[in-house]
Amino acid sequence: MTKTSLTTRQSISGLLFSLPSGLLLVTLYALPMLCLFLLAFTDYEMGNVVIKWVGFANFNQILKDPVFSRSLWNTLIYVAMVVPISIVGGLLIAVLVHARTKTRSFYEVIYFLPVTSTLIAMATVWQFLLHPKLGPINSILKLLGLPAQNFLGDPTLMIATLAAIGIWQLIGFNMILFLTGLSSIPKEIYEAAAIDGVTNPVDRFFKVTLPMLGPTTLFVLVTSSITGFKVFDTVAVLTQGRNQSEVLLYDIYLEGFTYAKMGYASVLTLVFLLIIVGLSAWQASHMDKKVHYA
């Protein structure tokens, strides 16, 4: 038996221990990413026997594809509505709910319910609620003397309607995150503030609460943005992309699974991933400097 040094033996056993999880990481995350990257340069269609290398053809197609630019635009509008409203709203509700003592858990459950339900199932409920003729929301509009709206058919309303449902689902989740953040602010800080003259609730919010929630807000911003970009279920159930209401994931789904153009779908997925990773990295690096960690 050859004499190996202690460090060599330790690194060998270390590698052996990390091998199982390393294998899982490679097969579950790295390999699919690699496949995706390679497929993006091919004309692969599901069921094809021959795969042809097409170089950057798929990438060029993106630039000329009106559906892609439309779905990118729609997604950006959707995110621009969902992210700010669900964050500011979630924070507002969290501050209000946090001040409750006896009814706090009641409000927590109420606002969190949409998070626990499946969006697909809930989407059908929304479909009924928003129905142009039978829906209660339109009945209310009529009662108020307002014209009925085709929320899920009118191109000018569709993205806003989808965003409203997205906000409805996300706001409770953000509220819970903000509630956790609020609970972790030490009581003494508020007491010191009370003695220092920070007594007005608005002052207290901007001088103490909001800065102390910095790390929570950053987390909520990143997760909400990702959730926003990933909008799919509501589109798939409620509009199926009709009247030019496609979003990024729905476009990918159409190209890949309806039209079976896997090569092109791979490029779209790459672009989608780049957007999400880029945005998250930018948010994290940009905000990290301004955020205080206790």
Binding site: E191, A192, H292
Partner: protein, 397 residues
């Protein structure tokens, strides 16, 4: 100028008579949380410029009392006056007090400078002047802000913080943080400083150091300090007077020396002083006379109600040359020696008190006076150094 400026600086120091003047008066304050009575009719008068400590075991109500003075909690019954006028209806910021917290309670997102200037900004700038960016367009904003910055710099210089102004609390050591908290309290020039165990989060060495700094600071500011601590030695070394609290009541108020030499009750006697006072239950003979240890003659007491006597460690005499001065002697066995450098503590098993050890201190003269564990010696005391207590723990004089 601060509204209380004249009142504050024309006050006569408390030791120059003028009983009617007080910085702080607490009158029969009662506070309960649910069924638990935390404060049970507590009254206390603090003279201007006095350093008073509230000391007691945890849960005795000392912190609650401090928070009631600050206005962070409301009392159920009773009233609190600061500088001769009631503050019961005033919010914390209007009470002319500043508080220093155990965990500093600095704003972690603000620099040292912002932390210290906040109280002044809140009181001297209107909400419009405080607005981000927009506030700078008001003519006086810059002038006020410059004055505040100057004040902050002055205070920081006096506490040795001038090089840390741009740091955040996370970048400071515990001692520095506590100095920033002090600076934040000092900047408002309050009538009363309230301190809630400000040193207990620091390590032992720094604690002693900051203890001295606080005493120096108190001398310099001539302000009134109310200092809460569970550490009796902290209270003993820093305060002009100490209020010993237990179970929501003030047991005794007095100077450190009064509490040490002449405690009203057994609880106070046991709480003040390290090592703890030695307590001897007295054995009653049938005729009502009391015996101590293995002594054959009864104690010459004319107190019928005496149940126990207590002796400070320095009053339990073991040195051979001092024993003849003792009124009572007993036999004892040295159980353990504890060398503290300048002095030695002897743990004694005294005859007649099984399963109990008593402590005496003797100066360490280098030759240890020949005391060794296991050795049998004589121990005694002078009657006039002993404190006597009745069965209820009250001092019997």
């Amino acid at each position: 100028m601060h509204p209380n400026f004249h009142q504050k600086f024309t006050q006569v120091p408390y030791n120059m008579g003028m009983k009617s003047q007080q910085a702080l008066k607490i009158d029969s304050v009662v506070k309960s949380y649910g069924d638990v009575r935390v404060l049970d009719s507590v009254s206390l008068e603090v003279h201007p410029g006095e350093f008073i400590s509230l000391v007691g075991p945890s849960g005795c109500g000392k912190s609650t009392l401090l928070r009631i003075i600050a206005g962070l909690e409301a009392q159920d019954v009773g009233s609190v006056s600061i500088g001769n006028s009631s503050v019961d209806e005033l919010m914390p910021k209007e009470r002319d007090v500043a508080m220093v917290f155990q965990n500093y309670a600095l704003y972690p997102h603000m620099t040292v400078q912002q932390n210290i200037s906040l109280p002044l900004e809140m009181s001297q700038l209107s909400w419009m002047q405080r607005l981000f960016f927009v506030g700078n367009f008001f003519s006086k904003t810059k002038l006020i802000k410059d004055t505040i910055a100057n004040d902050v710099l002055e205070i920081c210089k006096s506490l040795g913080l001038e090089n840390l102004l741009k740091r955040k609390p996370a970048q400071l050591s515990g001692g520095q943080r506590q100095r920033v908290a002090l600076a934040r309290a000092m900047i408002r020039n309050p009538a009363v400083f309230l301190m809630d165990e400000p040193l207990s989060n620091l390590d032992a060495k720094l604690r002693i150091h900051l203890r001295n700094e606080l005493v120096e600071l108190h001398k310099r500011l001539k302000a009134t300090f109310v200092y809460v601590t569970h550490d009796q030695s902290e209270a003993m070394t820093m305060s002009d007077r100490i209020a010993v609290m237990d179970s929501g009541k003030i047991l005794q108020i007095g100077t450190p020396n009064e509490l040490y030499t002449s405690p009203d009750s057994l609880k106070v006697a046991q709480f003040i002083g390290t090592p703890q006072i030695n307590l001897f239950e007295l054995t009653d003979a049938k005729d009502g006379s009391h015996f101590w240890g293995s002594a054959t003659s009864p104690l010459n007491l004319n107190k019928k109600s005496t149940a126990a006597l207590a002796l400070r460690p320095e009053h339990l005499i073991v040195e051979a040359h001092r024993l003849p001065t003792c009124d009572v002697q007993s036999s004892a066995v040295i159980s353990r020696l504890e060398d503290h450098g300048s002095e030695i503590l002897l743990h004694l098993a005294i005859d007649g008190y099984a399963n109990e050890l008593f402590i005496t201190r003797i100066p360490n003269l280098g030759h240890q006076d020949g005391f060794r564990p296991g050795e049998r010696i004589n121990v005694g005391f002078k009657l006039d150094t002993a404190l006597f207590f009745d069965a209820q723990g009250r001092r019997s004089v």
